[in-house]
């Protein structure tokens, strides 16, 4: 039994496996088929200051080894989360992390401030990388200036662990990561989805309601590993890696590339119990390779 505990800027985790925002609901949806307390952390659906209806259907298109989505941050708003969802999940014996989004730096900061007040939520993941909303979202995450502005605003309002989620849809993800580090982020997570598109040739129209969407799943994994490796070399703060992880071997690839923890997204749709299996699988891999701690492989590349 290797020591698979890890931590992200002081946030202690029993293992390096978390579930990615937007793919695991609020955790409860999966409770019948996976032991939530065996997961290192659960990152809940993107939450905004005001309720959002999201984009029209169709919001999903399957692709080769992946999928496109344009959900568009549908959620009932931060107050609904605090009053109705938080009480249901606050006593889970795992890290519950809220993914925060917004359309202006002020919105992001106010949303983060309200979550700061929730005792059992020790971290937020700031989404400056959603490709599916017109205002805000990825717009902030694709320039160093935009990223810095949002992170500075949130840093003033939020006092616990601040993880900033980066977009791969940029020229140099390492530059954005450095800007975010300078602005006060405690950690970065990457990658969010890659902007893509698919066309229904019979109907001669895009498969998604807003034409474009975010690509996720194994199709994006090599891009994600490259991003994690570049960012881990560029910043001193911890890196959380994700993008296409389907099993423990994939997770280990990210750890070796420099991630201190990983997230699993789309794979939850194929096997809703995958997160628990990956946590166990990382442990088995370490045992088999004679590693006493997961720390021995983090960033070895």
């Amino acid at each position: 039994m290797a020591d698979i505990r890890t931590n992200i800027a002081g946030l202690a985790m029993k293992n390096p496996v978390m579930t990615a925002s937007g793919t695991f609901g609020y955790g409860m949806e999966f409770a019948d088929v996976v032991n939530l307390e065996e997961i290192g952390g659960i990152i809940v659906k993107g939450t905004t200051l005001h309720p959002r209806e999201g984009n029209d259907y169709p919001r999903m298109a399957e692709t080769a080894s992946g999928m496109l989505n344009c959900v568009g941050l549908q959620n009932k708003g931060v107050d609904y989360f605090c009053q109705n969802i938080y009480p249901e999940i606050k006593d889970l014996k795992t890290n519950v992390i809220v993914n925060v989004s917004g359309s202006s730096p002020e919105d992001y900061a106010e949303c983060a401030r309200r979550i700061d007040e929730l005792e059992n939520i020790l971290a937020i993941e700031l989404n400056i990388s959603c490709p599916n909303v017109k205002q805000g979202g990825m717009a902030f995450g694709v320039t160093c200036e935009g990223a810095r502005t949002v992170v500075e605003a949130v840093r003033k309002a939020y006092h616990k662990t601040l993880i900033v989620k980066l977009s791969p849809n940029v020229t140099s993800i390492a530059d954005i990561a450095k800007a975010v580090e300078d602005a006060g982020a405690d950690a970065v997570s990457l990658i969010n989805t890659l902007m893509g598109m698919a066309i229904d040739i019979e109907r001669r129209r895009p498969k998604l309601s807003i034409s474009t969407g975010g690509l996720s799943g194994p199709a994006v994994k090599p891009v994600a590993v490259r991003c994690v490796w570049q960012v881990a070399k560029a910043v001193k703060i911890p890196v959380v890696g994700l993008g296409g992880i389907m099993n423990a071997e994939d997770a280990i690839e990210f750890l070796m590339a420099g991630a201190s923890a990983i997230e699993i997204g789309t794979a939850n749709f194929i096997d809703p119990s995958v997160s628990e299996k990956v946590a166990q699988g990382v442990n088995d891999w370490l045992d088999k390779h004679g590693c006493k701690s997961v720390k021995e492989i983090i960033g070895v590349i």
């Binding site: 609901g25 949806e29 999201g54 999903m60 399957e62 080894s65 809703p272």
Partner: protein
């Protein structure tokens, strides 16, 4: 309670070249399932099938501990499912969704309308209705005689009326043109099939002031209400078909009827 389980294929039937009926079983009693609920099956060995595929619960044979799935082969995933053999395993996430809201009262007259493979959930529903003393009547539509499925099984539970587009069986035309709709009255209607058919039935129901439920087939990813991909617009805003549906009272939907 939802389960993630490998079931065993006990029998595979091909009622027609475009359909396959899978009879699945398990070494322990199958969990409780309600009519109108569905399963998400994992398709192995099909390169272009990445996500699970949602399939309705067609029938639950408690005596033989069987769960039946009636599948139309429309693409790679369903074609792969049609190649399963006796003894193969199939991984299921189930049962999912809400199911039909009302499983029947003594003497109630319920009309169940199905089009194409949309007839699948109506067999189990008809069984439940009959068991509870209600009187189900089926109105089944298909392109042609060969596309009519499980007719003898439907007849066990109630009277069956048929329309075919080419007139090769029953009345010629679409289900909404069938004479039973003008000759008889029903306490409520449930319908599953292609969207244009469900919209036409919903219009009929509204005009005649009959309660009407529809079972939707929006494209799904998780099947658990987590990804928000399968939404339908309703009076309550966008809701997940996989969790709050697939069965909805038409009055809740923002359909133009």
């Amino acid at each position: 309670m939802k389960y993630l389980k490998d079931l065993t294929v006990k029998a595979v039937e091909h009622p027609h070249k475009k359909y396959v009926l899978l009879k699945l079983t398990d070494h322990e009693p199958l969990p409780e399932m309600a009519p109108g609920q569905f399963v998400e099956v994992k398709v192995e060995g099909s390169e272009r099938t990445f996500l699970r595929r949602p399939i309705s619960i067609n029938y639950v044979d408690r005596e033989n501990n069987e769960l039946w799935l009636l599948i139309q082969t429309v693409g790679d995933g369903t074609r792969k499912l049609a190649t399963l053999k006796e003894g193969d395993k199939l991984n299921l996430l189930f049962p999912l969704g809400n199911g039909f809201s009302d499983v029947g009262k003594e003497g109630e007259e319920v009309l169940l309308i199905g089009g194409g493979v949309g007839v699948a959930p109506l067999l189990e529903y008809g069984k439940w209705l009959k068991e509870r003393g209600a009187k189900p009547t089926f109105l089944l539509g298909a392109r042609s005689k060969a596309d009519l499925l499980e007719l003898e099984l439907f007849r066990q539970f109630g009277e069956v009326f048929i329309t075919t587009e080419d007139g090769s069986e029953g009345e010629k035309g679409f289900v909404t043109q069938h004479s039973v709709l003008s000759n008889r009255s029903f306490d409520r209607i449930s319908v599953c099939g292609p969207k244009p058919m469900m919209v036409a039935v919903a219009k009929y129901a509204k005009k005649n002031n009959v309660k009407c439920e529809v079972s939707l087939e929006n494209m799904m990813a998780c099947g658990l209400g987590a990804c928000l991909c399968c939404v339908e617009k309703t009076v309550k805003g966008n809701v997940c078909v996989c969790k709050e549906g697939p069965v909805f009272d038409v009055n809740l939907l923002s359909w133009d009827i």
